[in-house]
Symmetry: C2
């Protein structure tokens, strides 16, 4: 019987850099899919419905990066250092070759990982993503950071940013929150204010406008699946178009009537699309 994400125990592994990473590991496949979570997220913030759908025929690994949740250390303030942390974690698990799925800030880390250590990655999924240096994304819109950037996280703020304003999206948001926050056992440690500050510094640095840096995308020369919600106000869909325009081998899907949390709202479709992409022989 397959394990479900809610039942998957948190494990710990010590890295060569002396960081003890908290992670969860479920499903089976030769090439594992390593997931990189959103701003202020920990192991518990992945929608269990999405993880279970991905893990049906695939090994899926979620982890807390340095200083996040139950992982030791101090959260670094640059995407490059976060990518070093992800590489350190992958090495600690002796994973030679992985697929990556990065969501939001996690998709920035995935891009950097692919640039620093291309030989370790087979395919990459960039969900709600944007390239470093694109104009118009220096920090999040005032209402967005107000909704998700407070010292005490607010379910309503999360709902407002991760889901669209339609009844269907709001309902999907309530359901996703029920799955995520309905967890009664096996909790991760909460993320700290230090993590929030360091991650938002990294997001702002990533968004410093620098047109020349967009050319970095040409070096992410592996199959990429770029996905976003059509109404995402945290990271606008235009940046997904930009990624697809500049990455050497990318395909795009924009999910209807959704926002930053499109992959939780459309968990079944998104998991199916990710599995099809990762299993695509081309």
């Amino acid at each position: 019987m397959p394990m479900t994400y809610l039942e998957t125990p948190t494990q710990r592994v010590m890295s060569g850099n002396g960081i003890e990473y908290a992670y969860r590991d479920l499903g089976q496949s030769d090439i594992p899919l390593v997931l990189l979570i959103h701003f202020r997220g920990n192991l518990d913030n992945w929608d269990p419905a999405l993880i279970d759908a991905l893990a049906t025929n695939r090994r899926v690994i979620t982890f807390d990066n340095i200083g996040v949740g139950a992982t030791t250390g101090t959260t670094p303030a640059t995407i490059a250092s976060m990518a070093r942390g992800a590489i350190d974690f992958v090495e600690a698990l002796n994973l030679e070759y992985v697929d990556l799925l990065g969501f939001s800030i996690g998709s920035f880390v995935a891009q950097e990982f692919a640039l620093i250590r291309p030989d370790a990655i087979r395919r990459v999924v960039l969900a709600a993503s944007a390239p470093q240096g694109a104009a118009g994304m220096h920090g999040w819109a005032a209402d967005v950071i107000a909704a998700v950037g407070q010292p005490v996280t607010d379910p309503q703020g999360y709902l407002d940013v991760f889901f669209a304003s339609s009844d269907a999206s709001r309902l999907a948001g309530q359901e996703a929150m029920g799955r995520i926050f309905g967890r009664t056992t096996n909790h991760d440690e909460p993320t700290t204010w230090q993590t929030r500050q360091a991650q938002y510094d990294a997001v702002c640095a990533w968004g410093i406008p620098n047109h020349a840096l967009l050319e970095r995308l040409r070096a992410i020369d592996l199959p990429a699946f770029v996905a976003c919600g059509d109404g995402d106000r945290m990271i606008l869909p235009r940046y997904s178009h930009l990624l697809v325009g500049l990455l050497p081998d990318a395909r795009l899907k924009i999910y209807a009537d959704s926002a930053h949390g499109f992959l939780f709202q459309h968990h079944a479709d998104f998991a199916s699309d990710v599995n099809a992409f990762l299993d695509d022989p081309d």
Copy 2:
């Protein structure tokens, strides 16, 4: 009774630069829509079904740029000079403020027009387009230029490049060719080999890779509708994504099961989308 494009007479106007431009002018509206045709195209190469649908509630003007078809002069070998020709034509007609619809090389000219003379343009439609300097578009693919670049134009080559390989697209292609090449009166002059050579030089120069030039798109600060066929091999859909990622205010539609000639294949949908875009109060 509205005039149809097949019945619209060719008119001539002398410009300040001493060029006599051939053009056709039909429909009525305060702001005319000026059309810029594809590689080697003249007045007759617009699908009459598309023009008639656009002209139902709008003034639509097609013209031959310098040295093309019945217009006098020698076709220049740069997009910038072609944009100067388009501006010269618009001034000759005393049009102060226009909408532009550029198709293929015509969409390059439309971008340049918008950069040189932004105050004269309200909205722009970029069909099968690409920005100057994007990597991977230095001239067309060998099979594409072989199909449409010969001294004597070949209906089969046109069909192969402008339409997709599906039965539905091929049938639509035959129908579009029937409308375009079924014209029995009121012909334009054919385009010459000089025009072909100069235009292809301009296309190749536009495609010289130069990442920095992509930033020019930020200066096309007016509403833009970017449209392409999902199977276009002449100008890949990735460049439409790139345009939408970098233009300040652009929307995108990709038309299914079609290629470079998507706007003829899907003439009714495309005309409806263009009219909705041009009539959009936002």
